[in-house]
């Protein structure tokens, strides 16, 4: 199973190395890692995508919790959550195909952020499945370069099933 795990960590030098080191030392599989600042200056937010069976994920959670610099570990996959990923993609696109390309872009709600005689660069934010579908659709143009951030995620507060 693929799990998205959110970490709230002390914004200290080396915290990233501790987390990555833990994964390599214990042989866990990490698919993506995203780190960023939060509103609190001394806290950072890290989102990990980890692959493993239940036993491994339980250990991953516990071992992350054990790191002194880790304040909170949340496996959002166990809850109702939203996730978003940012994509930049550069495709082959001679002027003759621009209309066709921007039509595809429009359907997905992507923005054109760069254009040249040979290429077009899109920016797209969305769930991972949307990003993957967009890349799939662009394939016939010829993809020159892809940069994906890996997902960030948040647990939803609004829960239609329990709303009174």
């Amino acid at each position: 199973m693929r799990h998205i795990i959110n970490l709230e960590v002390e914004n200290s030098a080396g915290v990233m190395a501790r987390i990555v080191g833990l994964f390599s030392a214990r042989g866990y599989n990490i698919e993506s890692i995203v780190a960023g600042k939060t509103v609190e200056e001394c806290t950072a937010r890290i989102t990990l995508v980890v692959i493993g069976d239940d036993k491994i994920i339980e250990q991953v959670n516990k071992q992350l919790n054990k790191l002194i610099d880790v304040i909170r570990v949340t496996d959002v996959t166990r809850e109702d959550f939203v996730n978003r990923e940012l994509l930049l993609v550069k495709i082959h696109c001679p002027p003759a195909r621009r209309t066709e390309a921007s039509l595809v872009g429009n359907i997905f709600g992507a923005k054109v952020v760069d254009i040249s005689a040979k290429s077009l660069t899109f920016e797209l934010t969305g769930s991972e499945s949307k990003i993957t579908a967009f890349l799939q659709t662009l394939r016939p143009f010829g993809i020159r370069e892809v940069a994906r951030t890996g997902p960030i995620a948040m647990v939803r507060d609004f829960n239609p099933r329990s709303s009174e």
Partner: protein, 572 residues
């Protein structure tokens, strides 16, 4: 106060009774502050010795052990010591000097990235970047080392931080928002455990090092009496429960007693307390305790369900949890089960064959009798360690000092030095192999000069016995790289089997003489007790060498990958 003075101030505030270390350019300011500061300092002959001595001090006393080394080579020499302490959850604070902050990252002279190097072998580590942070980080280092599941903490302090001054006071306590170890057990879980215990028919208690670090031996004994459950221990748990007690099964696992291994395999309930189910204990995990449900009590949630399935996890400080549990557990009677266990004990005692020469097992038994099982026994690693574990019969906690998790040869002697510093009045013995003792033999100078009366008993089989044992059993006696006396003149086909081989190197008695300490040697069984008596009576360190056969092996032995009941009982 300067940073260096703050470090010494911290040691005093933390009640540090002994500091083990070695100087160098990047800690010279700390040594200056140490001059006439009144903190007892022990200059070892190698930083690895300092790290193991701090560790041994901690194991014997329950206090935090502290070592100090300079940057670069000094700090890297601590690494094996830190890894040893980490794998056995021993509270140690290592203070290392670092190059000045302005030079960090420049490959400066004697710079090594100690944070990077020790990340996976410490509980936590710090690099101090501002002198005003120093008091809080020093306090945190001690707090993290001794609380929760204990472990080593390294604090790396650049030279300019040691020289800078700070007005920040040393704090009385620290609050680390991301570090809150669980202490009290969860009551509903404790109730569940008590209910399961009351239904058990063939219970076994399995106690480990966690019982010792939490100081829970009395609570463990009460639980065992109430439940009338036999008690086995891991290597790290030796001394947690008196091995002379009728309920004691002694050690379980690869070189555990046959009756402990049988009991685990037949139990319907295993109460595992402060253990981590190391592979040397479980044998093949899928065959481990096949009939048992497991209650696992530990302070570290990550040990639970790491290696074995657990029905009732119970996270908390063991002493707190057992105190609560004991209030809920009623007196039980398991006579049929205890009779079965007693049968196994009768039929499968630990034994060895006399071969005419000195039996190493008999040496351990003699030491046990002479010391009333009360000495502090440190060991090296290998057969010497396993024979000590099997034959001493430990009766109290913190009398067994041995590298369990990492299995570090060269640990025993410097650790014994640390234990002796912790308990000046007690008899401390390092039981050694001729291989291991040479790994930190330089500390003879430390023992001699500080007159630390550690007794080294070398069981000299002229070989790396435990490796040789594996080669005997699993590698068709192809003895490769295990003879410690092989030289250029040895015939190529010599397998080191010949007990008539004349050469013993080094001459340990003359080596003792070089350090001005007495050395004794014998290969005659009748001389064992008299020599030990002389050595123990000597007011200072001493070396005793007993020459034993290379063919002595440790049994029982569960081959790697086998179930606990599939033991080898002797050479085929």
């Amino acid at each position: 106060m300067t940073g260096a003075e703050m470090i010494i101030h911290a040691l005093k505030r933390e009640g540090v009774r002994a500091l083990f270390g070695y100087p160098g350019g990047m800690v010279i300011d700390i040594f200056d502050a140490l001059y006439s500061a009144g903190v007892p300092f022990y200059l070892t002959r190698h930083e690895q010795g300092a790290a193991h001595a701090a560790d041994g001090f901690a194991r014997a006393s329950g206090e935090v052990g502290v070592c100090l080394a300079t940057s670069g080579p000094g700090a890297t020499n601590l690494v094996t010591g830190l890894a040893t302490a980490y794998l056995d959850s021993i509270p140690v604070v290592a203070i290392t000097g670092q190059v000045p902050t302005s030079l960090i990252g420049n490959d400066a002279f004697q710079e090594a990235d100690m944070l990077g190097i020790t990340r996976s072998i410490t509980k936590h580590n710090f690099l101090v970047k501002e002198v005003d942070e120093l008091p809080r980080l020093l306090k945190s280092a001690f707090y993290i080392a001794r609380s929760g599941r204990p472990g080593p903490v390294l604090i790396d302090i650049p030279k300019d931080i040691q020289q800078a001054t700070t007005a920040m006071p040393y704090p009385d306590e620290v609050n680390i928002r991301s570090y809150k170890p669980t202490v009290a057990g969860h009551l509903p879980q404790i109730q569940k455990a008590a209910a399961r215990i009351s239904r058990a028919e063939r219970p076994v208690i399995f106690a480990g090092g966690g019982v010792i670090s939490s100081g829970a031996s009395a609570e463990l004994a009460l639980l065992a009496r109430r439940m009338q459950a036999p008690v086995t221990t891991s290597l790290m748990g030796l001394g947690a429960f008196p091995e002379t007690d009728p309920l004691a099964l002694k050690m379980v696992g690869m070189h555990g007693t046959a009756y402990a291994n049988y009991a685990i395999q037949e139990a319907d309930l295993l109460i595992a307390i402060g253990v981590r189910f190391d592979d040397r204990v479980t044998g093949k995990v899928s065959k481990f305790a096949p009939k048992a449900e497991i209650i696992h009590i530990d302070i570290d949630p990550a040990t639970i369900r790491k290696n074995v399935k657990v029905s009732i996890p119970l996270v908390g400080d063991i002493r707190c949890v057992l105190t609560e549990l004991n209030q809920l557990v009623e007196n039980r009677n398991h006579d049929p089960w205890l009779q079965t266990v007693a049968g196994w004990k009768r039929e499968n005692p630990l034994q060895y064959t006399q071969n005419g020469g000195i039996s190493p097992q008999a040496v351990i038994r003699t030491i046990a009798e002479m010391t009333g099982h009360q000495a502090i026994i440190a060991t090296e690693v290998g057969q010497n360690q396993m024979w000590s574990a099997q034959f001493y019969d430990f009766i109290s906690p913190r009398t067994w000092i041995s590298s369990g998790g990492l299995g570090t040869m060269g640990f025993g002697f410097p650790a014994a030095i640390g234990a002796q510093v912790a308990h000046p009045g007690r008899l401390v013995i390092d039981i050694a192999g001729d291989g291991s003792i040479q790994m930190n033999i330089q500390e003879l100078a430390t023992a001699a000069l500080y007159n630390l009366p550690v007794k080294i008993v070398i069981l000299n089989n002229r070989s790396l016995g435990m490796v040789r044992q594996w080669q005997s059993i699993f590698y068709q006696r192809r003895f490769s790289g295990v003879c410690l006396n092989r030289d250029a003149r040895c015939p190529g086909e010599c397998d080191g089997r010949s007990d008539s081989c004349p050469l013993y190197l080094p001459d340990f008695v003359r080596l003792a003489a070089a350090y001005n300490i007495p050395g004794f040697r014998s290969e005659r069984p009748e001389e064992v007790a008299p020599i030990l008596e002389k050595a123990f009576a000597h007011d200072g360190p001493a070396i005793v060498e007993f020459r034993i056969s290379q063919e002595e092996n440790v049994f029982p032995m569960v081959p790697a990958g086998a179930g606990l009941n599939e033991m080898l009982r002797g050479m085929a």
